[in-house]
Symmetry: C2
Subunit: 510 residues, 2 copies
Amino acid sequence: MTGAEGLVHTLLRSGVDVCFANPGTTEMHIVAALETIPGIRCVLGLQENVVTGAADGYWRMASKPAATLLHCGPGLANGLANLHNARRARSGIVNIVGDQAISHRPFDAPLTATTEAWALGISPWTRTVMDATAVGRDAADAVQAARQGQIATLILPADTAWDAHGSVGEAIPFPPAPEPALLAIEEAKRALGSAQPTLLLLGGRSLGATALADAHRIAAATGAPIMAEMFNARFERGRGRPPVDRVPYLVDQALAKLAAFKHVILVCATPPVSFFAYPGKPGCLCPPDCEMHVLATPEEDGPHALAQLADALQAPRVPPTDRGTHPEIAHGALTAAAAGQTIAALLPENAIVVNEGGTCGPAVFSPSHDSAPHDWLDLTGGAIGDGLPMAIGAAIAAPSRRVVGLQADGSGMYTVQALWTQARERLDVTTVVFSNRTYGILLHEFAGVAAKPGPTAVHLMTLSDPAIDWTRLADGQGIEAARARNCEQLADLLRTSFGRSGPFLIELCM
Amino acid sequence: MTGAEGLVHTLLRSGVDVCFANPGTTEMHIVAALETIPGIRCVLGLQENVVTGAADGYWRMASKPAATLLHCGPGLANGLANLHNARRARSGIVNIVGDQAISHRPFDAPLTATTEAWALGISPWTRTVMDATAVGRDAADAVQAARQGQIATLILPADTAWDAHGSVGEAIPFPPAPEPALLAIEEAKRALGSAQPTLLLLGGRSLGATALADAHRIAAATGAPIMAEMFNARFERGRGRPPVDRVPYLVDQALAKLAAFKHVILVCATPPVSFFAYPGKPGCLCPPDCEMHVLATPEEDGPHALAQLADALQAPRVPPTDRGTHPEIAHGALTAAAAGQTIAALLPENAIVVNEGGTCGPAVFSPSHDSAPHDWLDLTGGAIGDGLPMAIGAAIAAPSRRVVGLQADGSGMYTVQALWTQARERLDVTTVVFSNRTYGILLHEFAGVAAKPGPTAVHLMTLSDPAIDWTRLADGQGIEAARARNCEQLADLLRTSFGRSGPFLIELCM
């Protein structure tokens, strides 16, 4: 048995059965092992950031890790940005990087690079397999690490993959998320009983429907509002779930929204900070005299803590939320607001919304409080280019559900080759491109720096010369696509796409 | 004066007047400074590997560095693979990375990443500007480092960019490439006089036309053949220059070609090693008893050393090479060989060939020994996705010359968004896509590992389901494109493109 075969057997025994891949020469023995040992679904991405973004989306919906298969240091480098996003989402990924044979490293052949050093920034668990006999143990360790919600980078030099002394590792158990201390529940209860304005700030796993229902109990019993973090890995929303807003992205809005609070109870969340620094503005978004209380760290079992807190407060159950205000299709011109409302109105039951909508994303978020129940996945690390790849992984993890990608055009171009994989795998993904032909957020930011963008700034922040034709980019990669110029066309195209299987792309000409 | 303004003034004083960029919020003050201080041409790339690959191509043709402008750690990460290739080409780049404000780093906001650590693998000169007053000195140091043929990464936190105490640095002189020691010339002369088979192996700056003419003198006087390294940053070729082959990529071919030599004289080259390791095959491509002689290291002035060696050998001048065998247009089916011959026949005078042709590249290389004089730029680091971006930088560095991109389809998809910048900047780039719908090199490598690729291997190594339509990918980004199904159509399209200005893409259906 080769080291590569030992790796594949170990992955299977540890429950890993999807591999997003872009292999190269140093991974040929692993490809051969994936061929001869059945059970792992292999999905090709045409650039590594597609591969790693897909693995991020897969974890978010499957709650178990996929493997990646990357080629040497530069292949890893290409996928680092979406691994950065995955790290911020606390997504578990078994990040397998083939590399130059150990015997070959001293020759410093052209592809030789600092693979381990590049991995460490996004993958605290990083290990190079030094011998084929160790591959079983190392791979099982990697899966164990990944199942706890982290990126585990396993570097497999080509000679350890081809060596005939491979080994198989048994699955290693991993602990459940730790329960928060009783003291934390007592402290949160005290804050809620203080008669001072108190916020429940939810993040991570505390944004599931059950946890949200318990948070709603607490809110109803105490009057403390609920808010979610600025960007969230997975947020169960829509009718039946409480309408929970996020901490705003724009600093002034966030400061205003948080100004009154004297206590913030953090549930799998961290204290809210501004995304970027601005001259003369604070980095912490809560007022200086606001006290932070950790009910559960992001690693802890926040849902359990919320249930315990609700019980401790003797908070009665709250019936499922239905405000009776279902969003309705808008008419006429495709403003962000009208498009957002139309999408919210037609969102299918159990949709998975992958939001990389940039400045247009919030226009869908607000009205979709009252959409059909759905999951909402944000760009968690701010490294644009996660949307189209994440949709791949989410669709593979949840094949019976429709993925709706809200895609800014500037971000979409980062990983435009992801569309090909959506076509290849016939995934039920509807991508809505908000084609406003600008880096909209930058034009906003630039306004805070200089009076008016001149020719250089316009050159660097607009995509209008030449205009990008998204229908051709999609069609050239095997995806049917069409353009919507008003809300009626958008609604028609959404209905068409939701009524059939496979991918579809709608370019909104805004 | 802001730190950002100090940066821009310093770049200009140091002779940097092109900036390939994809800025974000932390770079807005730099964009504002580029706006108000005229003199730097700004070129937007829609993903950072486009930006860094363009800077690589620019150095190769301009022999001076461009600046990049990247956004935080993940923006740098996206550009690392082409920085890796640039490092292998010894291209100088002033690699500017904006980042979170120093004051903001403790908050660990979502985009915060290990920027410095990621840079170090490709950029031994890496420095974070810690204070706006230091920006002039730091930027001038960075340009000095880059001018010596390395990547110099200058990280500029947002608060040092917006702070009003910016400074301007004067250009710092840098030493010319050192002359090789006289002893090295003596040693090479001895090897050439040994009556044992001796090879002149040329790399780096020794592949310019003048150096090649001196190498030709040596070869004619001594009978020692000349060879170039496997992949070269810039190689002046075509009629009037000696027909010099490269060390073959395939190990068995390389071993056979180098088997007879007892001496190798390295001129700006390193001892030839195989690109990857293979079970039972050597990593060194020369026989164990072959002696290496360093006439010039890659950092040294190889052209000067060749001239001195030729003089020391009293080697007479050799008339410019013209073998009288001009390549001719092929007819009929578009095999790699026929396409290669057709391209070689029509290559315009002074063309710049950017070769990321994968398995099809060699089919153009061989017949183009006798093409019109041209420069040939290879993928030097093996990290695919350098071709389309490199063409941007080469075209901007040499605006009066036609760039001809030889592009494998698999590699091309890595940075397909580079086409947009070619269109935006109206660059004279003709891209020829060898659309064979496979990772051809991998199918070859896989054959050495397993008998026949089964469904999984085929799934991971072919691009045929769905077929990619390159004319639509180009057209969707504003580039006119057409398909060639035979050599006559290819010739017609090449002539059309060479006869007008601006970019054009030809998809070869192979």
